[in-house]
C-alpha cells in the first residue's frame, strides 16, 4: 500500500504527516493537547493541522494531563479515535491513574463492552539539556502496565508508519518520540555537528498512507558477532559505535516494546550467541531487565557470554552533567569489548 510519491521529512514532519492523513481518512480521529492547536505544538508536531482540519478536531487543552488522558478515554467510549499529546513524557505522571487503571483495563473489565482506541504521543529522552523534568525515559512504566502498547520509532519513515498503525489500533498505545532525534539522527558524540535527517535514507517518507505493523522489529544492520537490542535514539548511537570499531554486530531496532517481536530477538541471539541491550532509561527495573530475562529464558544454551546492559544511571537526569550521564559511545564500546572478549 505504498504511495509512489516520497518527500524528505524529518521526524517531526513525518509524525505531522501521519496525523494529517489519519485526520483526513477517519472523521473520528481527533488530536488534542497543550499548545497543539493554533500554535502547532511546542515541538511543531501538529503545525498546520488545526487550520486544515478545524478547531473541533485539533485543539488545545487545559494544563491537566489527568484530564487529557481521562477525556480521551471518554471520547474513545463514544467512538472517537483520540490522539492526545502529553507535552513531555516527564509530565505524564499526573495522568497515570487514567492510563493505568482506566485506559489499559477498559476492554478487560468490560469484557469488550468498551474499548480505548487512544494513542498518547509524547516526546521523551534526554540530550537537549532539559534537566530532570524534560529528559526522562519512562517506557518501562508503560510496558509494566497490562493493556497498553508501547511504541518507539527511531527514524522518520518508521515514525509515520508506526504512528498510523498506532492510531488505527483499537487498544491504547503510548507512542514515545525520542526528541533528541526529531531533527536528525544522533551519533552519541555531543561535540560533533548535528547531522540532518536529509542525509539519512529513512528521511524518504511516502507522502500518502502506509502503515508499519506494531510488534515488528527492524534489522538495522545484519551481523554475526553480537546482537544489539536498541530503540529510539540509541539505535543510532549503537550503529555509530559498531561501525567505528568494525564490529560485525546485528542491530535490532525493536520499534515496538510491547507487543515485542520476540521471534526476531530469539533468531538473532541464537545466531550470534551474544547480546547487548541498550537504553537511555535508568537501569534498575528498566526494559533491559525484561529483555535480558527473555533472552536467557529462550536462548540460554546458545549464549557464549553473559547478556550485558548499557543504560542510563539510576539517578535523576542531571542538567550540566548530561553527557556524563548519557549512555554514549564509551559505555557502549566498553560493554561490547566485554561481551566479545572470548
Amino acid at each position: 500500500m505504498m504511495s509512489a510519491d516520497t518527500k524528505t521529512m524529518n521526524m517531526i514532519e513525518a509524525i505531522n504527516s501521519a496525523m494529517d492523513i489519519m485526520l483526513e481518512r477517519d472523521p473520528n480521529t481527533v488530536v488534542m493537547g497543550e499548545d497543539v492547536g493554533y500554535f502547532g505544538g511546542v515541538f511543531r508536531a501538529t503545525a498546520g493541522l488545526q487550520k486544515k482540519h478545524g478547531k473541533t478536531r485539533v485543539f488545545d487543552t487545559p494544563i491537566n494531563e489527568c484530564g487529557i488522558i481521562g477525556v480521551a478515554v471518554g471520547m474513545g467510549a463514544y467512538g472517537l479515535r483520540p490522539v492526545p499529546e502529553i507535552q513531555f513524557a516527564d509530565y505524564i505522571y499526573p495522568g497515570l491513574d487514567q492510563l493505568v487503571s482506566e485506559a489499559a483495563r477498559l476492554r478487560y473489565r468490560s469484557a469488550n463492552d468498551f474499548i480505548c482506541p487512544m494513542t498518547v504521543r509524547t516526546p521523551f529522552g534526554g540530550g537537549i539539556f532539559g534537566g530532570q523534568t524534560h529528559s526522562q525515559s519512562p517506557e518501562s512504566i508503560m510496558t509494566h502496565i497490562c493493556g497498553v502498547k508501547t511504541v518507539i520509532p527511531s527514524n522518520p519513515y518508521d515514525a509515520k508508519g508506526l504512528l498510523i498503525a498506532a492510531i488505527e489500533d483499537n487498544d491504547p498505545v503510548v507512542f514515545l518520540e525520542p526528541k533528541r532525534i526529531y531533527n536528525g539522527p544522533f551519533s552519541g558524540y555531543y561535540d560533533r555537528p548535528v547531522e540532518p535527517w536529509s542525509r539519512h535514507e529513512a528521511s524518504a517518507v511516502p507522502e500518502g498512507y502506509y502503515r508499519i505493523d506494531l510488534g515488528k522489529a527492524a534489522t538495522v544492520r545484519a551481523g554475526e558477532a553480537v546482537t544489539v537490542l536498541a530503540y529510539g535514539t540509541m539505535v543510532h548511537v549503537a550503529k555509530t559505535v559498531v561501525e567505528e570499531r568494525g564490529i560485525d554486530a546485528e542491530i535490532l531496532d525493536l520499534r515496538t516494546l510491547l507487543p515485542l517481536d520476540i521471534d526476531a530477538i530469539e533468531a538473532s541471539v541464537k545466531k550470534t550467541g551474544r547480546c547487548l541491550i541498550i537504553h537511555e532509561a535508568t537501569r534498575t527495573s528498566g526494559f533491559g531487565a525484561e529483555l535480558a530475562a527473555l533472552v536467557q529464558e529462550r536462548c540460554f544454551y546458545h549464549l557464549e557470554a553473559p547478556v550485558e546492559r548499557v543504560t542510563g544511571f539510576d539517578t535523576p537526569y542531571p542538567h550540566s552533567l548530561e553527557w556524563a550521564y548519557f549512555p554514549g559511545p564509551v559505555r557502549i564500546a566498553t560493554a561490547l569489548d566485554k561481551i566479545l572478549k572470548d
Binding site: D35, P94, F129, G131, Q132, T284, Y325
Partner: protein
Amino acid sequence: MPESDSRPASNLPPLSLHIPEPRYRPGDTPDFGDIAVPAVDATPRPSEDTKPDAMRDMCYGLVRVLDFDGVAKGLWDPKLSAERLRAMLRYMMLTRAFDERMFRAQRQGKTSFYMKCTGEEATSVASTMAIDRSDMCFPSYRQQGILITRDYPLIQMMNQIYSNRGDHLLGRQLPIMYSAPEHGFFSVSGNLATQYPQAVGWAMASASKGDTRIATVWCGEGSSAEGDFHSALTFATVYNAPVIFNVVNNQWAISSFSGFAGGERTTFAARAVGYGIAGLRVDGNDPLAVYAATQWAADRARTNNGPTLIEHFTYRSEGHSTSDDPSAYRAADEATAWPFGDPIARLKQHLEVLGEWDDERHQAQARELEDLVKTTQKQSEKLGVLGHGMHQPFETMFEDVFEDMPWHLKEQCDQMLAEQEAKFGPNWKPE
C-alpha cells in the same frame, strides 16, 4: 433500545463543541477596552476574619490602590512609608535588570534556558514584602522576585543559571529552578502546580506545631487547571490551613490563553467560592494593591481564620521562556495595550507624586542596578558557564539520590569514573 421512561432528545438541534479562542492573534490590533476597571476606591475592604461566604463579591471585583495618575486611594491603601516604597521599587527594578541580563546570557549561549517575569514583578516582590521574612514560600518558576526581595545573593542565582562551580545545586537542575531554604524558598520543580498541596502541608505542619509562620504558594492561571491545585484547595479548606494561594493570571500559558484554564467563564479568584475559602482578585500590576491583599491574607492566616486565594490579574509581557516565540500566537501589541500599565512605571509615578522620587534618581538607580548585575555576572562567569567545560566532579551525579549511597549506585559511580578516564584521561578535574 427498549422503551424506557426517558426524555427523547433526538428532535433537538445538534450539539456543538465549544473551543475557546483568544480575541487577538498575530496581525490583530488588541483592544482591552471591555476589561472592567472598577474605580480605585470602589472596592470594599472586609475585615480579616470575614466568613468566606460573606465576601464572595471580592472574587469578582478588583482590589486597587493606585489610580492611573499615581495617587494611592481607598480602603486598601497600605500606607507604606516612602522608604518602603523605594525599597519595593528597587527590588522590582533589580528583578527586571537581572532578567534582562540573564535572558541575554542565554541568547549568548551561556546557558540552556531562562524565564523572565517582566510585567509581573509586583506579584512576587510586593507580596513577599507583605509577609514575614520567616514565612515559607513555595514558588513556581517565575518568582525570582521572592529571592531578590529577600536579598538572596544574586551571584548564587547566576551560578545556578550557569550550572557552574559555584552552583550549590551542583548543576543538577534546569536554570532558575532555585532552592534556598535559609531564605524561606522551597526547591522549584519543573512540573506544574505540584508545589500547591506541598504548601498546604507545610502550613498544616506549622499549625499543628503551634508555630506562627504561614506558607505562601504561587502558580499561573494555566497550571491552576492541574489536579494538584484542586487537591490543595480541598485540603486547605478541610484543615483551615494558614496558607496564601497566589494565582498569577498573566493571561497566557505558553500559547494557550486563560480561556483554556476556564477563564472565559469566571475569575480565577472565584475558584475560592466552591471551596469555601476567602478569595481576592487584585490588580497584579499595582504593587500597593498586591501588598495590601497579601497583608490582608497573611493577617487572616496568622489569626487562624484560614486560607485565602489571591488572583493577581496581570499580563505576561514577554515569552513563556527563552524556548518560546509569542509572536507566533498572540498580537504583538498586547503588552502595551494592557489597561493596567507596568508595575515599575506605576510605582515610580506614585513616588514622584509623593515628591519622594524623580526621573533623575530613577535613571541613576536603573544604571546602578544594571552595573550591579553586570559586575555580579562577571564574577559568576569566572566560575564557568554551561556548555563550556564540565564544572562538577562527576561523582556528584550519584550523591543525594539517597542519604546513604546503596551498592548499585556505588557500582555505577565506579563505572562512570572509568568512563571519565577513558574520555578525558586520568588527571581530569572539573573545569
